[in-house]
């Protein structure tokens, strides 16, 4: 056994032990199935990694999924559309949350994944969007939701630009710390600007949007509306990734100096990705405000920023589908493991470490490997 295997084994068993902690609380015996299950999975992964049949099977699956991207997307969309027909209201609410976080993760992926800028206070943009909608439609009742929605996006974008102009001259850890500060500053502002934001009590009575006489009161209707917004956001981002702009972002991420030497205006591209990210974050915030009907600073803590970042990393940095998968896993899964909610962070930690060790490019990997196969499929006979 070489050193690399040894390290993998160490991390693996350590992770399993961490995951076992909540089960220990209930009954020591529960640990056994977890351990056995994990061990079996691992043996299977080893087997699948080396076995010729499994390798070809996996490659075939990946290839056909990528070659028939439209079909895959259509199927996923169909399932997503049908979910609320069979689910309880509670489940629909959970899935609506998944959608909101999927928008956030997709938005954050533009900066973190594509441009390679670590943002730790992304929740600040979400908060700005939510409060813009809250203030405009409920607190002062200045306009309806349909005007407030784009304004929320624009308000968040403005914050992004104002923050980005000075902050984007920094790099790496320094920039991450500045954005972290931004998220905290927004939350503290919201808590203390009593006249505008209602302070710690937040804003109550935000109405759900309506089309003429028809109001999106039922969770199911709102779910579909949120799904439509998510689809639009994904469509825009996916188109951008394959465009000149997307390539320029990735080029900057890969090597900033080389990108500059090729004539890309690095600062402007950074600012564009940052403000676009903020815009979509604000849109998600606006949806959150009307979904909850009530917003307070408690919803916009640093923990949320980390959660969204985890989704991006878990799903695959720079991969749009990955962000959605990450949101699904990190929001839906804990809902089904409510009993262990106390240990959620522990499990997150263990999972993140496991990913860093076993699959640093995330669940779905990064974009280009997929792109390469797609290109080949396009060319091939």
């Amino acid at each position: 056994m070489n050193a690399r295997n040894l390290r993998h084994d160490l991390f693996f068993y350590l992770g399993i032990l961490l995951i076992c902690v909540p089960f220990l609380k209930i009954h020591t015996l529960y640990v056994l199935p977890v351990f056995l299950g994990a061990w079996g999975l691992r043996r299977f992964a080893d087997f699948a990694g080396e076995n010729r049949l499994m390798v070809t099977l996996r490659e075939r699956t990946v290839n056909s999924v990528l070659a028939h991207r439209r079909v895959t997307v259509g199927l996923i969309l169909a399932v997503a559309l049908l979910i609320p027909l069979g689910a309880s209201d509670y489940l629909i609410e959970v899935f609506t949350s998944v959608i909101l976080y999927a928008i956030l993760a997709t938005a954050l992926n533009i900066t973190v994944g594509l441009t390679g800028v670590l943002v730790l206070g992304f929740i600040g943009f979400y908060a700005v969007g939510a409060y813009t909608t809250g203030i405009l439609t409920a607190k002062f009742a200045l306009c309806g939701f349909w005007i407030a929605l784009p304004l929320s996006g624009l308000a968040a974008m403005l914050c992004g630009i104002l923050l980005g102009i000075p902050a984007l001259r920094l790099r790496g850890d320094y920039l991450a710390v500045v954005t972290l500060g931004f998220g905290e500053i927004i939350r503290i502002f919201l808590t203390n600007l009593n006249g505008l934001t209602g302070g710690p009590n937040g804003i109550l009575g935000i109405k759900r949007p309506s089309f003429g006489l028809f109001t999106l009161d039922h969770p199911r209707d709102f779910y579909w509306f949120a799904l439509a917004v998510l689809s639009l956001v994904i469509l825009i981002v996916a188109r951008l990734v394959d465009s000149r702009y997307g390539r320029a972002w990735i080029a900057i991420r890969e090597n900033e100096m080389a990108a500059g030497a090729l004539g890309i205006n690095v600062f402007r591209k950074h600012l564009l990705s940052f403000s676009l990210s903020a815009f979509f974050g604000g849109i998600a915030g606006s949806l959150f405000a009307v979904k909850q009907g009530f917003i307070s600073p408690d919803s916009f803590t640093f923990y949320e920023s980390v959660l969204i970042l985890c989704m991006v990393v878990l799903g695959g940095i720079g991969n749009v589908a990955g962000s959605v998968t990450g949101a699904l896993l990190l929001i839906a899964a804990p809902e089904f493991l409510r009993e262990f909610s106390l240990y959620r962070m522990l499990v997150f930690g263990a999972v993140m470490i496991a990913f860093m060790v076993f699959r640093p490019s995330g669940l779905l990997g990064s974009r280009v490997i997929a792109q390469e196969i797609k290109d080949r499929a396009d060319d091939g006979p």
Binding site: R247, A248, I250, M257, L262
Partner: protein, 233 residues
């Protein structure tokens, strides 16, 4: 075509260039040689605008370009192929090249891509491969090809032979000569001074931020001091 006069550049308190004067005429290959830290790469960075200068002037095609932002300098026709290849590992070869032609108009792109791939057929074979999966020599080819995409008048190559096998080094130098024959002007920075002086027309020797020697490549090759310091003789 390009003239530097008393160029100065600082990294904080450190003066990396202390008044460099040199010129490059259209259609020639000019080599900068010198030890580590002599200021070769800094000179290129100053020309391409990646690093600001603190004194002196850079004139390209009759226009002062010192302290212009890099993207404007590229637009004027100076392409910088930086040290260490720096290709975009997660983009395919094709996408790397498209980024090189970032400033080209849309309708020019396909034609230029074909022209550049004509110079580097090897890259054509690997067009859909991720840049990071190429071998070292292929990556250097890609870096040069990428720098050529924007149809530069002046190509600046920083250590193109760095870390390559001798046979690849030879290939790279052949490519540079072939590029010269297409009318391109090349400013070359090389540690491999012997090979660089073989293919270049003129050379400058930099020492701690200053030009200490200059002349035709043949004369530099024969110079005692150059031979001792840089040619291992």
């Amino acid at each position: 075509m390009l003239r530097l006069t008393d160029l100065e550049l600082r990294y904080g308190p450190i003066r990396a260039l202390k008044g460099v004067t040199l010129d490059v005429a259209a259609g020639e290959i000019v080599t900068l040689i010198g030890a580590n830290g002599a200021g070769k790469s800094s000179t290129l960075k100053a020309i391409s605008g990646i690093h600001g200068t603190s004194g002196g002037s850079i004139v390209f095609a009759g226009r002062r370009i010192d302290n212009l932002p890099p993207h404007e300098i590229v637009a004027l026709g100076i392409s910088h192929c930086p040290e260490g290849r720096r290709i975009f590992g997660d983009l395919s070869v094709r996408e790397n090249l498209l980024m090189g032609g970032y400033l080209l108009a849309k309708h020019e792109m396909a034609g230029r891509l074909d022209e550049v791939l004509g110079l580097f057929p090897r890259l054509g074979e690997r067009i859909h491969q991720a840049g990071g999966t190429l071998s070292g020599g292929e990556q250097q080819m890609l870096a040069i090809a990428r720098a050529l995409m924007c149809k530069p008048g002046l190509l600046m190559l920083d250590e193109p032979s760095l870390g390559l096998a001798p046979i690849m080094v030879e290939k790279i130098f052949e490519t540079i000569v072939a590029l010269k024959q297409t009318g391109l002007t090349v400013l070359l920075v090389e540690q491999n001074a012997g090979a660089a002086l073989e293919i270049s027309d003129r050379g400058y020797v930099l020492e701690i931020g200053q030009v200490t020697l200059s002349g035709t490549s043949a004369a530099l090759r024969d110079d005692q001091r150059v031979a001792q310091a840089y040619l291992g003789g």
